[in-house]
């Protein structure tokens, strides 16, 4: 099977019409569905959190059939993800898109499990430690996008599971768990 890095591509990735935004409604709906799934899968496996429309994105080009998604098509598929709550536009110009292959709530749950697994229930950690510390290696939290992490932490703070406090610099932002 054809691959993109470690990612296995489905057979229809080489179907040229897949790369042209279809005008007929029914066909387009199916096409959008397939692209949404593909984008989420790819981002999850490759741990990609942000797609920048104006940069090259490997999934959006196929050198075998020599086709590339147009800007209009990319925007259409990402907007569909945003509408479903699986992505967010980071800017008004819709040039950068945050991909939530885990929803914020799911990330929050992962953090809670992480805390419980490592016995951090009453501890204090920096935000940076959560994403790049020794404990997080091999877990989903490793390398998590900072924006997403902070959002998840804020959600947990709202639920009273932790408290965020500022340090002397941004990197020192700390979290006190009370899970």
């Amino acid at each position: 099977m054809q691959k993109l890095g470690d990612f296995k591509l489905p057979h229809f990735f080489n179907y040229p019409p897949y790369f042209t935004l279809q005008p007929v409604r029914e066909t387009r709906e199916k096409q959008i569905q397939l692209w949404k799934e593909l984008i989420l899968d790819y981002c999850r496996i490759q741990k990609i959190f942000v797609i920048r429309l104006e940069e090259e994105f490997p999934l959006f080009s196929n050198s075998v059939v020599e086709r590339t998604l147009s800007h209009e098509a990319r925007e259409a598929f990402l907007s569909a993800l945003v509408a479903e709550g699986r992505a967010e536009w980071l800017d008004k110009g819709r040039r950068n898109c945050l991909i939530l292959w885990h929803r914020i709530q799911e990330w929050a749950d992962i953090i809670v499990n992480f805390v419980k697994d490592n016995g951090f229930e009453d501890s204090v950690m920096t935000v940076e430690e959560i994403r790049s510390g020794i404990e997080s290696r091999g877990t989903e939290l490793q390398g998590i996008d900072r924006t997403i992490l902070v959002r998840a932490l804020k959600l947990l703070e709202h639920k009273g599971k932790l408290a965020i406090f500022k340090g002397t610099s941004t990197d020192d932002e700390g979290v006190k768990f009370s899970v």
């Binding site: 019409p17 005008p23 397939l34």
Partner: protein
């Protein structure tokens, strides 16, 4: 009751089949033809009377019987035309045109094309025929044209020219043999000074004739000017009476004058705003039928579907001088749905308008497209409108319309790339988003994969690493 008149041939759209060199001159609607002796012969009621250079043709109106009752009187059989008598009575009656027709031994109209060459042959009796004009047509104008056509004797010129062209090849050999002013078939030859003088003479005669024609047109123009004044007056009155007449209009007099006004406006070239309500002026009706006849052959050659613009160009080119406007063309095509003709106008979603046979079937075209697009080559690279055009036997622009329609029905998908605009068979319905990597053993998806993998395009074991 047997038929007094000769039979006239008619096309499938109800238009008369014209003889060689025969040209239409005038039309009148709602005309009755009454032979004098109508106790023994049937009279023709309420039809269309067409004056040509060779004949008077009577067509039944569309609501009447089958086209087999279309009739004609050769102008050659007419021995006299009566001038119209304006009397007090004629103010109240419908106008009438009376003429005298030579009659053969069986009592029917003498047909000069059957057998004997001389027109004064067996027709010793004559019968008076009256044409009663119940419609609102230009009776006086018709009468003038009737006189002109009858005097012009166009059918005799035809005979001479046809016999002349026949002997041209014969006399080609004869010119070498001997001198003399007359060639073997009796026509005058152009040799020597006498020939030059004769040529001059003929030129004078033709110039004279065309001058006469030109002055005739001037006369016609002057009579039209009178009509124009009347028209302006009528229109003014119509405008003054306002829109109240449009809503009712059940009044016969009202409807009649509306139609009249329409015809007059049309003759000046103004499109009547009233056209939508009625079936269209007589002109458009006849044009519509003529167009339906004409377009049959181009349609066949184009494979059953022809662009409206192409048809317009072809039609005007065939007409030669009396060109029609695009608007007339559109009107004529729109009227087809009111008549029983085998063609129709069709508008695609893209806005392209075509003329196609009523018998044309979209389903059949889709079946052919489907079989084309599932061939191995087409599965790999798709098809372009040109490929479809070659297979379907129609113009590329028409083929593209069919492909777009097939796409809108979910049969095809488009692929736009630097290579151009191509279409593939639609695989999307077969793919399950919840199970994207699964391919059924049967079905179009697996067929596609097989076709694609034989060229090594794609589903091999190649891996390309991207970061």
């Amino acid at each position: 009751m047997s038929n007094f008149f000769s039979k006239a041939e008619v096309t499938s759209s109800g238009r008369p089949v014209l003889l060689h060199n025969e040209v239409e001159c005038h039309l009148l609607s709602a005309v009755d033809l009454e032979p004098e002796d109508h106790r023994h012969f049937s009279l023709l009621k309420s039809g269309l009377l067409i004056l040509t250079t060779h004949r008077l043709i009577w067509l039944p109106s569309s609501s009447a019987s089958t086209p087999t009752s279309a009739s004609a009187i050769p102008l050659a059989a007419i021995s006299h035309i009566f001038s119209s008598k304006k009397s007090l009575k004629s103010v109240f009656h419908s106008p009438r045109i009376r003429f005298q027709v030579l009659v053969s031994s069986d009592g029917r109209v003498f047909d000069p094309s059957s057998g004997s060459g001389s027109s004064s042959g067996s027709g010793s009796r004559s019968v008076v025929v009256t044409a009663v004009i119940r419609g609102k047509g230009d009776c006086d104008g018709f009468l003038v044209k009737f006189w002109d056509s009858w005097r012009a004797r166009a059918w005799e010129t035809t005979k001479i020219s046809s016999s002349g062209s026949g002997s041209a090849s014969g006399s080609g050999a004869a010119t070498g043999i001997g001198g003399g002013l007359y060639s073997s078939d009796g026509s005058v030859r152009m040799v020597g000074v006498a020939g030059i003088l004769r040529k001059e003479q003929e030129m004078w005669e033709s110039t004279d004739k065309s001058l006469q024609d030109a002055f005739q047109d001037l006369n016609a123009l002057m009579s039209k000017a009178k009509e124009m004044v009347m028209l302006a007056e009528k229109m003014r009155q119509k405008l003054l009476s306002g829109t109240s007449s449009q809503t009712s209009g059940t009044n016969d007099e009202d409807m009649g004058s509306k139609e009249e006004m329409q015809d007059w406006l049309l003759s000046v070239g103004i499109i009547s705003p009233v056209t939508k309500e009625s079936a269209g002026a007589l002109y458009h009706q006849q044009l519509s039928r003529q167009l339906a006849d004409f377009v049959r052959i181009p349609l066949e050659r184009a494979g059953g579907m022809i662009n409206l613009i192409d048809a317009y160009c072809l039609f005007n080119r065939a007409r030669g001088t009396e060109l029609i406007s695009p608007d007339d063309m559109l009107q004529a095509c729109s009227l087809w749905e009111k008549f029983d003709v085998p063609v129709m106008l069709r508008k695609f979603d893209s806005g392209v308008m075509v003329i196609q046979n009523k018998s044309h079937s979209d389903e059949e075209v889709f079946a052919r497209i489907k079989s084309l697009v599932t061939k191995p080559e087409a599965l790999r690279t798709g098809i372009s409108p040109t490929d479809a055009a070659m297979t379907l036997g129609i113009a590329p622009a028409m083929a593209k319309e069919h492909l777009l329609t097939a796409e809108s029905k979910g049969l095809l998908c488009r692929d736009i790339s630097p290579d151009g605009f191509r279409f593939y068979i639609n695989l999307f319905p077969e793919i399950d988003p919840c199970n994207m990597y699964f391919v059924k053993d049967y079905g179009i998806c697996s067929t596609w994969i097989k076709a694609v993998s034989t060229t090594g395009l794609g589903i091999g074991e190649r891996s390309s690493t991207f970061r």
